[in-house]
């Protein structure tokens, strides 16, 4: 038997994790029963406070979601006792009737899909969707989310309050969209999840724990979508893409903490387990025969992952995938990536031919300048390359990336 102090300190993190992992499921269920987002949050908040008091001493319950819902139910009835009529109270009690003491978490209907779609409703502004999803589905705390997106806690709290007000005032429905609307709305949700994932990479530079937590949360959300929408190829595609990216985490920084780009990474550091998960998702996606942009991006990552060294990369396959991607979702950024791949296949001059016409559209896009600098340097045009490096450095918001670019620029200047 552990001593009381060691048991408490061990379970404190476990308690937090169990609560965070149960939050989305519990909230979704409560909104279904109570019909109101804010009320559901309030009673869940009460239940969580109770859990924080009791779980460290009593240990984690076997069915944490059921525990939270049972406690929330009691709180809800208490709250409403004073406010509602007898009829309304009876309705409330019957809404909870089947929630007996012995309910298994697995038997609690998973309403998280309705919750995710509501949080990602297009009527809410994009940054609001992100914040609301992280809070309601991910169970992250407001201060964490504020730090992740570099706003003050007060600003983030306001954003969340206004979001819930809009959901209520505009009657944003608590539903999973159907028919044609479903595909569009899935795309919106996946965009939110991908945004969270990409943001995690920027955060990880200054706040490694927060960055890691965000990335893990994005992957959890994506896996939940895969689970809840097994017929969606793009959900699997996005999840695969994120696992491929995650696989490279250890190789992305050298021992001095400096940023290492893909073609210079030590591939023995790529995580086989992550790669395995990525490939499994991508293969299952392919079986659904519904190609889409995330699957194509994941396929490109898969081609990189097959090459034991950068030189062995099958650039032809990657060029083909970018061609397909450009066909589906044409964009100057895809053309930029394509130009870089063409350079690998046919030399920097051909790459530059495709790249330079994009300058008007991408003059504010930092990776454009980094790519331009790299290709110019390869083509022997050092002066122009140095200018492009300066632009890339000036536009970078990432210390490690800047340091790497500065090193490249400096060695180029030295060669002059």
């Amino acid at each position: 038997m552990n001593s009381p102090t060691s048991k408490n300190s061990q379970t404190s993190k476990d308690v937090e994790r169990a609560l965070r992992e149960s939050y989305g499921h519990a909230l979704a269920s409560l909104i279904s029963r109570l019909g109101d987002f804010a009320t559901a949050e309030d009673v869940l908040h009460d239940a969580i406070e109770a859990a924080l008091r009791r779980w460290p001493d009593e240990g984690l319950p076997d069915q944490p979601i059921a525990w939270l819902l049972t406690t929330a139910k009691r709180r809800a009835i208490d709250r409403f006792r004073r406010q509602k009529t007898a009829d309304e109270k009876a309705e409330l009690v019957s809404a909870w009737a089947e929630l007996g003491a012995d309910v298994d978490d697995d038997d609690i209907p998973d309403d998280r899909l309705r919750l995710i779609f509501t949080c990602c409703h297009p009527a809410l502004a994009p940054e609001v969707r992100v914040a609301l999803t992280l809070r309601s589905v991910g169970g992250l705390q407001t201060p964490e989310i504020a730090r992740a997106f570099l706003v003050s806690e007060a600003t983030m709290a306001q954003r969340l309050v206004r979001a819930k007000k809009k959901i209520k005032a505009a009657t944003i429905p608590y539903l999973v969209p159907e028919g044609d609307a479903l595909n569009e709305r899935v795309a919106t949700v996946l965009a939110v999840i991908y945004l969270i994932f990409n943001e995690s990479h920027r955060r990880v530079v200054d706040d490694e724990d927060l960055g890691a937590a965000l990335a893990a949360e994005a992957i959890r959300l994506a896996e939940a979508m895969v689970h809840l929408l097994p017929q969606s190829a793009e959900c699997k595609g996005l999840t695969a893409l994120m696992w491929f990216t995650r696989a490279r985490t250890a190789a992305r920084r050298d021992s001095a903490g400096r940023y290492v780009p893909l073609d210079e990474q030590d591939r023995t550091l790529w995580d086989e387990k992550c790669l395995g998960r990525a490939r499994a998702h991508l293969n299952r996606a392919a079986l659904l025969r519904a190609p889409g942009p995330y699957q194509l991006q994941a396929a490109i990552a898969a081609v990189h992952a097959e090459a034991k060294t950068a030189d062995e990369t099958n650039w032809r396959a990657i060029a083909d995938f970018y061609g397909a991607l450009a066909g589906l979702t044409p964009s100057p950024i895809i053309e930029l990536n394509r130009a870089v791949v063409l350079a690998r296949l046919a030399g920097p001059r051909l790459g530059l031919e495709h790249l330079l016409p994009l300058e008007a559209l991408l003059s504010n896009y930092q990776p454009y300048w980094a790519a331009k600098a790299s290709l110019l340097a390869e083509a022997g045009q050092s002066q122009s390359a140095l200018f492009a490096y300066r632009e890339a450095i000036a536009k970078s918001d990432n210390g490690a990336e800047r340091a790497w670019l500065e090193t490249r620029a400096a060695s180029l200047a030295d060669d002059e």
Partner: protein, 116 residues
Amino acid sequence: MAQYALLIYSEPGKGPQPETPAFGNYMEAYGAYTAMLKEKKLFVAGEALTPTTTATTVRLRNDDIVTSDGPFAETKEQLGGFYIVEAANLDDAIAAAAKTPTAAFGSIEVRPIMTF
């Protein structure tokens, strides 16, 4: 059920122009749209407005009535008409807004009606 205002904005000069054949089709399309709303029991009210050149803006300042010629603000897209619809939720109101003939080249603002 909730009520929403659908505020129909478009840029003068964009879309079918008056006294062209295309405009006749456009008016017919609106007739059909209104009929559809009524048939689905969504219609509460709806009117087209005459152009902003006919607008007058009224303000009461320091007990003086101040009138000025034109809409309250010179915006590129101007209010051309409105509907009040009854819808189960925002998604249904959005779907109704998307079907207005002006949605193809203008903007439809969907705003819940206040309930007190």
